[in-house]
Assembly symmetry: C2
Amino acid sequence: MKFYILTIFPEYFSSPLKVGLLGKAIERGLIEVEVLNLRDFAQDKHRTVDDEPFGGGEGMVFKPEPLYQAIQKVKEMDPETHVVYLSPQGKLFNQKVAESLAKHKSILFICGRYEGIDERIRAHFVDEEVSIGDYVVFGGEVASLVVIEAISRLIPGVVGRKDSIDKESFTSGLLKYPCYTRPREFLGYKVPEVLVSGDHAEVERFRRLSSLKITLERRPELLHTANLSQEDYAFLKSLLEKQRVYLFLLHYPVKNKEGETIASAITSLDLHDLSRLGRTYGLKGVFVIQPLSDQREIAERICRHWTEGFGAKYNPTRKEAIKLVKLFETLDSAIAEVERECGEKPLLIATDASPKRSYITVERLRELLWEKPIALILGTAWGLCDEVFEQCDYFLEPIWGRLDAYNHLSVRSAGSILIDRILGLYSFWKK
Amino acid sequence: MKFYILTIFPEYFSSPLKVGLLGKAIERGLIEVEVLNLRDFAQDKHRTVDDEPFGGGEGMVFKPEPLYQAIQKVKEMDPETHVVYLSPQGKLFNQKVAESLAKHKSILFICGRYEGIDERIRAHFVDEEVSIGDYVVFGGEVASLVVIEAISRLIPGVVGRKDSIDKESFTSGLLKYPCYTRPREFLGYKVPEVLVSGDHAEVERFRRLSSLKITLERRPELLHTANLSQEDYAFLKSLLEKQRVYLFLLHYPVKNKEGETIASAITSLDLHDLSRLGRTYGLKGVFVIQPLSDQREIAERICRHWTEGFGAKYNPTRKEAIKLVKLFETLDSAIAEVERECGEKPLLIATDASPKRSYITVERLRELLWEKPIALILGTAWGLCDEVFEQCDYFLEPIWGRLDAYNHLSVRSAGSILIDRILGLYSFWKK
């Protein structure tokens, strides 16, 4: 593998390329790195490589000609060279991109500085634009080091023990398990017993479960593409059971079209849709709050049809869902039931289509999931009354419109979307 | 700002810290960097800093004592030092994390190598664990350079022209616009006229719109937290109009519980829920396919009530939604209508709760959004028949269960979740 680095700071690279496994790989000829000084391709005696941007503004832009000349020169030496521009506008670099880049025999990295390179070079002479992350560094030099390191590790012979690559983060699709070495006890902190047990199968199991746990907690999205066994799923399920989410469907107090406080009627399809949603996403309960006793009686009769009556036999999957539905006369009694089931009060999360007050993001709510039971409160009719908002701990960021301010969703749609946004990241149980 | 770097390769850092603005900032005393050799804290004459992992396996682990001694030493010099461990298991580094780290006066970076550091140090003596991206490099050395560069840029005086920081990627919340410099014409490629017009307001506008466009195409999630003006929204809307998504609700041919082909009945709430969803997410149409003429007549009467009858006055927002609904006798006639409206055939995307065949991911479908009109086909009753699958271009990844295989959602829930997964990334229109 041959790497060309095009930079105005060739001296940047003198020490990092000599160190550790990368240095050894270069010494052994497994990798060749040639650092090119962009100034050598300038066309005036001052060796000018940058100029002011058209349209004005601070900062300088790399001129097209020297870049073009340098690219041509490299292509003369290695016609198949893949040209990579390192910039914050590029696609995010990750292990998959590293694997794809490792297939090339020769790569030229263009290190930008200042305001970047002339757009015409980027648009017409660059094969791939890559960003190492959502942050700004001084230039492409450190980024090219990162990319070169990641690619070099994948080249056969560079990392001696294949095992070390297969088990590391992102290669296995999971974050790595914690490692321990001597002494067995350090400042009172002990190594887990299983690691010193000598039972290899148990050690492997401990490491696998540790990897799964740390991945679930820190980077659950990685689990969507990881290879998971039935044992893995069972373990992950036991962890996910600790997320205790309840859906509350509130029929009182809610607002009517005129903003007055009312009690709304139960919609039979709500019971079906929200309980099916609840069962799919592993909610602990779908609690319907309805002060009118005749309304509750209708709902209970519907539920009994599906849990005990003809419906239970006709459609057992529906039975499983409807079992989650419980009817309550007041919001307080529904809260009390969560407290009884979980041993602690739930966090009350209000929802609404309008951002009346400061809201928390879904990302923040996901962190709270691991700490306390959550009751996500959906309003019927024209939405929740102020008194409900005041009782709640948080208000969740609304679902925004895509083309304009219109965001009038049914409670069934909004509930489905919000639950998917909160819990969909943890939904990777594939049939 | 003082940075300590703890490494077994102190020589790694000799050249990169001398170059460019970072080198100047160090020379001028704005930043101080002290590289510590972990081996200096070893406790035997061989200066051993690593050992085999408990539990066996390839690779070595950094021992706890030398790390502990080094951390203690740094804390003696700077008691407030924030201890950062660079590892792939850490939280993803980004500009926000850089800003938060820049608030410390002294930071110690621990550079891992091999299999990482002893877990007891990580768990009890590290304040923050940071990963520069989803890829594996040889060690924490290059990662610490990345983080030091990103933090250093934020320290007053390091980057002279404040303007250059404010307009760069991630600082403004958008990707940066393309830059051009002399010559005005290069190999036949010209600089956009506006940039040489001398009209500063037009230049600013061109740059802003270029930033918005590149951000929408490459990193739409950044727009959710960017500050957007009404003009920005209007421009983004004109781009988003190019995504032409239709929802098809199929009543024939679908399956019943026994797997036989049937025509199902229309559910009135489907028309409401899916059209409200469609209007919120800016769909071009909600097409209901129903071969039975009396069923179509009922649906059309419902729609007329909301678009022309009493409902249109009673609830104008509902009118706006229901206007998207069109009734068709066959799937082919619905496809023909999309072709008439868009001038080209839509890609047909089948949906189902079971992964019967190979599927495409939502990410892939999002790329297709920019290329062609999309018809997302939802089945009623027990789902789409095989003949529909065979007619479709792609099958979309199902919505998986969270705790187990159960994923029996209503068509209203599934449609809402899928549309949000596909288009929610582009839904940032805040009231």
